[in-house]
Each structure stands twice: as structure tokens, then as C-alpha cells.
């Protein structure tokens, strides 16, 4: 059985409890943010002192810059009322529907197109799941494999209880609470997320998936993830799901930190398909994410791969600080926008160590009335002798109402650096379509084929099954835009 299948089944394990509905209100904090609310969150989670202090510092800092929400990105949205948000809700999922027949038929149709198994559909749509599918045994088997290898994979709340020393050492070491507006907010109120520690000289025996988590509870809108790869270790982490998640919150401000020590490697892959809003741009998730990795050790390696098709707004720059000598960073991205979606996404590669190497391949696809911006910084500091960067940004336009923009920033302060930058903007050409159609391929199919061809270099960086799903995802996301 494939890992994916296992993950899907284990995902069903739900800690839903009948009868909880009546006292649900007591598990939600009142709207708005204050020091008391932060203390309450920390207390509910029984957090160690250092985390509470960190939250409070972050809150103080965030308050000071409250009127300075960043506005440099090429995105346009109604201002967010930060006092209209519940900053704490008990992490318990409650089915809202009795059966799939009660769910939005459009949603179910999309699930079917993506080939999502029935039981998973129920879970995603919020339908109560039969206890038979609570496959605790599968989860246990997988947990044991990881334990035998010494890998820690748990929620960050659990890590705060069981591994406070690791958390204290690395939490906030890559993205400090003062980093940016949304990171400060996250650092003050983060709900939950994943924690991974891979010990020295260990190759993590399986690919880790977020929706494969033992405590598969709702992580809330302020997700916080920390992954540490100790010396000589390797881990591949997959985040997300192809299913269109109808998140209950509009604002999502997550922080992901990765740390790779000497000779360690972390591969982090994301498929993001949150609700993009309707064709008029109503609803839809605002996704403001801070993702950063520190290639701290010598010869360490970080690789980010992302396929972003969802959310009304994507504001996301997975970055690498190349601190160790000979360390390398990679960023492979496909960002697709359709209808009224807006994406401003890219990366930062900060070269500090000697002989550091970074590779950026960003593909943007714009359709409908959407706007798609690549924004990337490559910085070579004076210490980074003999560093190299290769950047390639390609944009593909579908239709004539969309926009594609490329905003590269390059700062070189060591003249031994080698920089390469390539950029292109293209449309699916009529000649390409005619050629495919002359071979009997329908116009719609020809479009998908050409678009998939455009993304091929990125998809091959994804784990195989993820790549298959990514193909399907593009197809579903572009429906109505081509052919």
C-alpha cells in the first residue's frame, strides 16, 4: 500500500465526541486580541514559560506596528479587522453534516474529479465519519516506524510538553517574532502545527505529511511549523492536500521554520488549494505566510517546492538563509491564478557562507482576471565568496484579461559571485494549439497538455503521487478558463 493511501486513512481518525456541541462556546475566546487572551491561549495549552514570554513579546511588537501592515505587494484586498477574529478555539472538529448528500454538490463534483476517496470526501466536507474508518492501527504502525528511527513527529503543542529543550533552542531562530507584521501576529497567537526533529545521521524512513499527523486536528488559522534536521540527516515533508479546503477563517497567517545542520537536507513540498473565492472574487482565503529555512550547517541543503493554486490572496516567499559553507537552497514554484485571484509569491536567497549555491525556478500561470507576481531577492553578502545563483522566471498568460509581473531584486556584495537570471512571458500559441488539434487532441486537452508541459520542470521535483495530483489540480483550477 502506498504511503498516500495510509495517510488518507489515518487522516480519518477524528477526536470528534458526541455531546460536545452543547458546551462549544466555552471553548472559544471572545473576539479581539489582548494580553489576557494570549495568556489564556498559553494556559490552555499548558505551555512552558519561554513560549508565553515569546508570545507576549511578539504581541507587544505587533501592537506597535499595527498600523503598518505591509502594502508593498501587488495585491489588493479589503482591510482586515483584527478585532473581529477569535484568536482561540478548541481544536476539536465537529461534523456539520449528516451525509455527503447535504454537502455542496459543486464541492463533491470537484472531489470526484480529483479522485478523492469517498471516506476522505466525507471528512473534508465535514460529514461525520463512521468509526470503522478510524484506523488507529495504521497510525500506530507508522508511529512505531518513526520512533524506531528516533524521529520526532508531533504537533507543536505536544513538542512544547515533551521536548521543550528542542523547541526553546530552535523556535523563532529562523523567523524571529519581529520579522514582519504577519509573523509577529502568528508568534503572538499561533494555534498549532507540526514539529519534526530528525536525529543525527538518520534518513527519515518515510515522507512526512501534514494531513498524516497523529493528532489530525484542525490547526487553526495561525499555523506554526518547525522542522529540525540534525547533522547528516534527511527528511522530506509534504504539506497540504489537493482537495479544495473550505477553511472557516478568511485570514491565514502561518509561519514555517526549517533548520538544517551540517550535511543535513530538508525537502519541503506544498500543494495549496484553499478556497479561492467565487468567480467574482467573493470569499476566499487570504494567505499570508512566512516560510523560511536556515541552511545553518556546512554542506546543508534546503529545497522548497510549491504548487499554489488556491486562496484569494497568496503572499508567500519561502526563503533560505545560506549560512553554512557549501550550503545550497532551491526554490521550485508553480503559482496559478484564475478568476480574481491574486498571488504575490517568490523567494529570498540570502548567501552568507562560502561556496553557497541557490537555484530558483518560478512558473506563474495567470488566467481569467487574475494577477500573478513573482517577487524574489537574491542577496550575496561580502562573506559569501564563490557563490552562485541561477534564477528562471517564466510566466504563461491565458486569455487577455490577466496580468503577470516579475520583480527580481539582486544585491551582490562579493565580486566572486556568479549570477544568472532568465525570464520569459508567453501565451499558449495558436500554432501550438493547432498542431496538437491536428493530431486529434481536443482544444481543451491541448491547453492542459501545454500548461502541464510548462510546469514539468517543477512537477518532477515533487514526490510522484503529489505530482500526479498536481496535474489534476491544474486542470480543475483552470476549468472554464481554457478551451
Amino acid at each position: 500500500m502506498s504511503q498516500k493511501t495510509i495517510s488518507r486513512k489515518s487522516n480519518i481518525s477524528s477526536d470528534y465526541k458526541w455531546g460536545f456541541v452543547s458546551d462549544v462556546n466555552s471553548e472559544i475566546a471572545p473576539k479581539g486580541l489582548s494580553e489576557d487572551i494570549i495568556r489564556m491561549i498559553s494556559k490552555k495549552k499548558n505551555e512552558p514559560e519561554f513560549l508565553l514570554n515569546s508570545r507576549l513579546k511578539a504581541y507587544e511588537y505587533w501592537k506597535k506596528q499595527k498600523d503598518e501592515e505591509p502594502d508593498w505587494a501587488m495585491i489588493d484586498y479589503e482591510s482586515i479587522d483584527y478585532n473581529d477574529i477569535h484568536y482561540y478555539a478548541a481544536p476539536i472538529k465537529q461534523p456539520k453534516l449528516d451525509s455527503l448528500e447535504d454537502a455542496d454538490p459543486e464541492l463533491i463534483e470537484t472531489f470526484n474529479k480529483l479522485g478523492i476517496p469517498l471516506e476522505e470526501q466525507k471528512k473534508l466536507a465535514g460529514v461525520a465519519v463512521d468509526a470503522i474508518f478510524d484506523s488507529v492501527s495504521v497510525a500506530t504502525t507508522y508511529k512505531k516506524t518513526l520512533e524506531d528511527a528516533g524521529v520526532i513527529f508531533c504537533s507543536i503543542s505536544e513538542a512544547a510538553q515533551k521536548h521543550p529543550e528542542l523547541l526553546e533552542k530552535y523556535y523563532g531562530s529562523v523567523v524571529p517574532y519581529s520579522d514582519n507584521f504577519f509573523a509577529s501576529l502568528n508568534s503572538a497567537v499561533f494555534s498549532d502545527g507540526s514539529f519534526v526533529y530528525v536525529p543525527k545521521n538518520t534518513k527519515c524512513p518515510m515522507e512526512l505529511m501534514t494531513y498524516f499527523r497523529i493528532n489530525a486536528e484542525e490547526t487553526g488559522q495561525f499555523e506554526r511549523t518547525l522542522i529540525i534536521a540534525d547533522e547528516g540527516s534527511y527528511v522530506s515533508y509534504l504539506e497540504g492536500c489537493t482537495a479544495p479546503m473550505r477553511k472557516t477563517h478568511q485570514l491565514h497567517a502561518a509561519v514555517v521554520e526549517l533548520v538544517a545542520l551540517d550535511n543535513a537536507e530538508i525537502k519541503y513540498s506544498t500543494l495549496q488549494n484553499w478556497y479561492p473565492g467565487d468567480s467574482e472574487g467573493k470569499g476566499g482565503v487570504y494567505n499570508f505566510v512566512t516560510k523560511r529555512a536556515k541552511a545553518l550547517g556546512n554542506n546543508s541543503k534546503i529545497s522548497w517546492t510549491q504548487v499554489e493554486t488556491g486562496s484569494a490572496i497568496t503572499w508567500k516567499y519561502p526563503s533560505v538563509i545560506l549560512q553554512g559553507d557549501n550550503s545550497s537552497g532551491e526554490f521550485y514554484s508553480v503559482a496559478l491564478t484564475n478568476n480574481k485571484q491574486q498571488a504575490d509569491t517568490g523567494t529570498k536567497m540570502i548567501h552568507i557562507g562560502k561556496n553557497t549555491k541557490s537555484t530558483i525556478v518560478a512558473k506563474g500561470i495567470s488566467a481569467g482576471n487574475s494577477n500573478n507576481t513573482y517577487r524574489g531577492l537574491v542577496q550575496i553578502l561580502p562573506t559569501a565568496a564563490n557563490s552562485t545563483n541561477f534564477t528562471q522566471c517564466d510566466s504563461l498568460l491565458i486569455g487577455d484579461q490577466c496580468g503577470a509581473h516579475t520583480v527580481p531584486y539582486i544585491e551582490v556584495r562579493n565580486n566572486s559571485a556568479k549570477m544568472e537570471h532568465e525570464a520569459s512571458t508567453s501565451k499558449v500559441s495558436d500554432d501550438q494549439l493547432f498542431y496538437c488539434m491536428q493530431r486529434g487532441i481536443s482544444e481543451e486537452e491541448a491547453h492542459y497538455m501545454i500548461i502541464n508541459g510548462f510546469c514539468r520542470g517543477i512537477f518532477k521535483e515533487l514526490p510522484f503521487e503529489f505530482a500526479m495530483e498536481a496535474n489534476q489540480l491544474l486542470r480543475v483550477s483552470l476549468e472554464g478558463a481554457v478551451g
Binding site: 495558436d430 501550438q432 488539434m437 491536428q438 493530431r439 486529434g440 487532441i441 481536443s442 497538455m449 501545454i450
Partner: protein, 248 residues
């Protein structure tokens, strides 16, 4: 099989074809010759259904059914194949995937079962060897970085695999070295049967050293000025297109 009556075609506001009549039957090979700008490629493309060409008058029918309102893929699946003069590059689309998708589309339109990967690989191997196409090319994206000759061989490979009823070769011979030219000639001869037909659009006579056409038509300024047998092509080679122009 192919019946063209009084065909007038324009692109933008420019009239290119001005009343073509042509009838091609099963088992025949027709050559359309003519100087640059006479409308040869337009004729090839309009039969295949290229969208920017507008039929102002007349019609095209295939096996007694009008195809004027059919999309290019519908025409292709009826058995019309165009070997392109300038085959386009399709970055990131592997050759195998493209050719298999194309073959399966045809089978599907005939309510036949798609080929399995194993079956497909087998026939692809055989035909690639016949055409003399480098197996390394099969592993690349469609036409990407192919030389002119490699692109043309690729067209012949697809023609061999799809086994069309009507093959149209649009200046397939242009820019080819003598070996590639020979391959094209052999491919056409090998595929020719009593059940299918070929329309060769060419500027030069040299491809006809390898293929003996049933009929030769000379296209000048959007009209067929003269038709004849294989000998006509040889006369043209000696006397040039001005000779035909002087006759009209």
C-alpha cells in the same frame, strides 16, 4: 475521398485561394506544385482546418461529408493528417506522451480501445527504426531543439503511427538533405495503399524522384492553372513556372 469545389479562401482581408477544384480518390497520390505565394500551404492548412483561414465560397468534403464546420481535431480523427512545414516545439511535453495521446484520441473517436503502454512502446520502436529517427529524440519534448530534418522525420513517424486516410505533406521536402528526403519518399511509398491517399505540396520536383504521383497540379495565384500526370512535374523542372504562367 477528398472533394474540393470552387474553394475561395482568405486570411484577414487578403484573398488567397480563388476557386480551387480538386478531387482525390483512394489509392492516389497528388502533387500540388507552385511558386512561392501561390497558395499551396493555404490549401494544405485549410483542409486541416486552421482557424484563421476563412472559407468565403465553395466547400471541402471528405468521404462525401462536408468538413467545413469541423474543428481540426474532428478532421484529424476522421483520418486527415497534415505533416507541417514548420512543426512547432511543445516544451515539456514528452514525445511519447504526445504521440500516445494522439493515437488514443483517434482510437477513442472510433470507439476502439486505447493502446496499452506496452503495445504502444512496441509499435513506436518498430516505426522509429523504419523512419530512422534517433531513439534519443523519442525521450525529448516534442520537436524541442530538433534540427529541421529531425522535425520532418518526426512528422513522418507520427504519420506512420496514425495511419491516416489522407496524408497532406506541406513542403515536407524543404530544407532536407538527400538522406532525409529519401526517408520521406520511402515513408510515403510504404504507407500508400489502395485505401488511402496522399497530397504532396511542394515547390520542387525533387521529392517526386522518389514518389510517382498519380496527378500533378500547378497552382498559380490561387488557382489550379494546369493538371497532368507525373510528366508535368518533370516538364516544370526543365521549363520553370514562367512556362505555365505564359500558357494562361
Amino acid at each position: 475521398m477528398l472533394q474540393i469545389e470552387n474553394l475561395h479562401v482568405s486570411i484577414g482581408n487578403i484573398k488567397i485561394l480563388k476557386g480551387i477544384n480538386l478531387s482525390v480518390n483512394s489509392g492516389e497520390i497528388h502533387a500540388i506544385m507552385g511558386p512561392n505565394g501561390s497558395g499551396k500551404s493555404t490549401l494544405a492548412n485549410v483542409i486541416a482546418g486552421k482557424p484563421e483561414y476563412i472559407i468565403d465560397e465553395g466547400n471541402i468534403s471528405f468521404n462525401n461529408t462536408s468538413i467545413d464546420n469541423l474543428t481540426p481535431d474532428e478532421r484529424a480523427n476522421l483520418g486527415i493528417f497534415l505533416a507541417f512545414q514548420y512543426p512547432v516545439e511543445l516544451p515539456g511535453i514528452p514525445m511519447k506522451q504526445f504521440i500516445k495521446t494522439s493515437l488514443d484520441a483517434k482510437l477513442k473517436s472510433k470507439n476502439m480501445k486505447e493502446t496499452t503502454i506496452r503495445e504502444f512502446n512496441e509499435i513506436l520502436k518498430v516505426e522509429s527504426e523504419n523512419i530512422g529517427i534517433d531513439t534519443k529524440l523519442i525521450k525529448r519534448s516534442v520537436n524541442e531543439g530538433f534540427s529541421g530534418g529531425e522535425k520532418k522525420r518526426n512528422e513522418m513517424l507520427q504519420m506512420a503511427l496514425l495511419k491516416p486516410e489522407l496524408s497532406i505533406l506541406d513542403e515536407t521536402d524543404s530544407g532536407l538533405d538527400i538522406d532525409a528526403l529519401k526517408t520521406v519518399g520511402q515513408s510515403v511509398n510504404k504507407l500508400s495503399t489502395e485505401e488511402n491517399a496522399t497530397l504532396i505540396v511542394t515547390h520542387y520536383q525533387r521529392l517526386l524522384n522518389y514518389i510517382t504521383p498519380t496527378k500533378v497540379h500547378v497552382l498559380i495565384d490561387g488557382k489550379i492553372s494546369k493538371s497532368g500526370d507525373a510528366q508535368l512535374a518533370k516538364d516544370l523542372e526543365l521549363r520553370g513556372y514562367d512556362w505555365i504562367k505564359s500558357l494562361t
